[in-house]
Symmetry: C2
Subunit: 340 residues, 2 copies
DNA sequence: TCTACATTTGCTCGCGCGAGCAAGAAAAAT
DNA sequence: ATTTTTCTTGCTCGCGCGAGCAAATGTAGA
């Protein structure tokens, strides 16, 4: 072998180059980089030394093309105003990467765009699509499933009744029942439910659970208000519109919110615009336990989803070759803080 | 042509299938999906009709492999505690997608992991890598550039003096000078600078600019404190440690923060733990203008980076074939609010 | 109508790797 | 030592597409 001195990390080093340098065949080189392949320790060593020296790394596009597994998942997200998304992304990216999955991030602009986003992802032949968002109603899921170029469609952090999707979510009924019971026991009697956009039926789960609980125990259905986006500022505006013209006796004594984003928006206007005190004048509960919920401005009583556990389950789902029912609901934990 | 009735969106429809259905060659089919290719309107029409019927979409892995352009960029992010990241991601994902770029999202866990993350991305043969984070010091950039399997290394929202990277950032010196002048003119005289982790020299720019401005006008160098992460809670802790044992006359009259995340953390402890009023007792300024800066709890005087403009420039950089100096600094806008 | 030129189409070859098989080497059993 | 079994290696072929050229088709001018 001549004492060739090529620069380290030259452009476009291919398995053939490494094969020549290591004195083995091209296939042995590729095998060295696959953990399932059978290769002798000696060849592995030789290949790795040569690869290191030449700066070789397998081309995952080619590997994917040849094997029809991309180790890529698409992450479709549509709601960047909700701080909870940042938490979910952090958890997902960290754990999926640890397990060898790469993530294609797609910002789904709006409901009509969801289909395009899906097709977009399918052109990269992703192995799975993870949906985190609010605009993925049944129609969207249906078109998504028709363009089946990916094996799995996972709806994360939302329950879905579509039989062809895998839903990994918190048990909304259980969670909201726990919250309702908490609010009940703390002595609140005039609740207002603040709901998010109700684009499909699963979104109604928290609201319905709460209203039914209350109906059962007090034989009246509490008032509820809908915010057309999970946007704190917008939630504030809506709450303001709803409450600003009421006398003190007409005000709710607790606002139960579908999530923390809404709760924080409500909290802001209650304190700063209506000049009321939380929880003395009006109490507030949220859902998700975003980092800001613990902030001294909010001290939000909320419900924490077991995100890590859910993502750990997600990676199992991704690895699962079988076609069976993989839906799963998780139980989280009520986090009592100052706001209620 | 037989009246074959295959199900729409069958699995693995390839260009050959469409070619047969449309009565053209395989290459004409692929050409129909490339906007630069020359193809007659008639064939285009035929191909598109057949493709639509069969549910065909080109395989971007194969296209990438054959053309050596992936239309993929890797987005390396390391700091999910800062809400500004969410804003940047929203802007980047939206605009890049509009321009036909897909995004590989990589969570860079820590400084040592940055190299791995880079190699990870390079295995997908991304066309460019965008770095948004704090842990990308010169060493990391250097190793990144050695493993040059991507054409461009873009440091976004941070200036970088590395000659081989493209830096798209706000003009920190100009911005901080404007902020310093504002603080100066508003009559504050005992500033404290709250800095983030100083992993490499560009991070010192805002701090140094402020301290020098003050030194020039008042011939003393203001006090400064360092927070080891851009984490609001941690910033609060550090501010608390620094100020809690001081008498009123020893307190700063303004805290100038390197960014909003730090400013919000500082604001929280000043109001809720020290029981002081903002801006009466202590004023605060931030940097970035995150959505929460406008929140009634903060009303933060801050500096808004022209993010959209910066991302629009980024897409131009991505499309630019030339090898020339593409670094650019942008000028933002001071947003005066209540906090200072 | 014929030539000159532009546009469109088809084709060969290769991008870098993996599946799966056959040949070869090594280990275990007889 | 010989046979059997197991492990390792090399190989053919194909994944789906694009570069770039050659052939075919179309268009304009004389």
């Amino acid at each position: 072998m001549p004492n060739e001195k090529r620069p380290p990390f030259a452009e476009n080093v291919t398995a053939d180059d490494v094969a020549i340098a290591a004195g083995v065949s091209r296939w042995t080189v590729n095998r060295a980089f696959r953990k399932d392949a059978s290769i002798s320790p000696k060849s592995l060593q030789k290949v790795m030394v040569a690869a290191e020296r030449l700066g070789y790394l397998p081309d995952l596009r080619a590997a994917s093309l040849a094997s029809d597994r991309s180790n890529l998942v698409a992450l479709l997200i549509d709601d960047f105003a909700n701080p909870h998304k940042l938490v979910m992304m952090e958890r997902l990216t960290r754990i999926l990467r640890r397990e060898g999955w790469d993530i294609l991030l797609v910002n789904t602009l709006n409901r009509d765009d969801a289909g395009h986003a899906l097709l977009n992802a399918s052109q990269r032949r992703v192995d799975a699509v993870i949906l985190i968002g609010i605009q993925f109603d049944d129609d969207v899921l249906e078109t998504a499933l028709q363009a089946r170029r990916f094996r799995k469609l996972i709806v994360f952090a939302r329950s879905s009744e579509n039989p062809n999707t895998i839903s990994i979510a918190v048990d909304d009924v259980g969670a909201m029942t726990e919250l309702a019971r908490y609010v009940h026991r703390r002595g609140y009697r005039r609740p207002l439910f603040l709901a998010g956009p109700q684009s499909y039926s699963a979104h109604l789960l928290r609201k319905e659970t709460f209203l039914e609980y209350w109906g059962k125990h007090f034989s009246f259905r509490p008032e509820s208000v809908t915010v057309p986006a999970y946007d704190p500022a917008l939630a504030g505006t809506i709450v303001m519109e709803t409450l600003s013209h009421r006398g003190p006796s007409d005000l709710p004594d607790v606002i139960v919110c579908e999530n923390d984003a809404l709760a924080m928006g409500a909290s802001d206007v209650i304190r700063h615009k209506l000049g009321l005190e939380i929880p003395k004048d009006i109490a507030i509960t949220g859902f998700d336990d975003v980092p800001q919920a613990d902030n001294p401005n909010y001290r939000l009583t909320t419900y924490r989803q077991p995100l890590t556990e859910m993502v750990e389950y997600l990676v199992k789902v991704l690895a699962d070759p079988e076609e069976r029912d993989l839906n799963r609901l998780f139980t989280g934990r009520l986090i009592p803080r100052h706001s209620a």
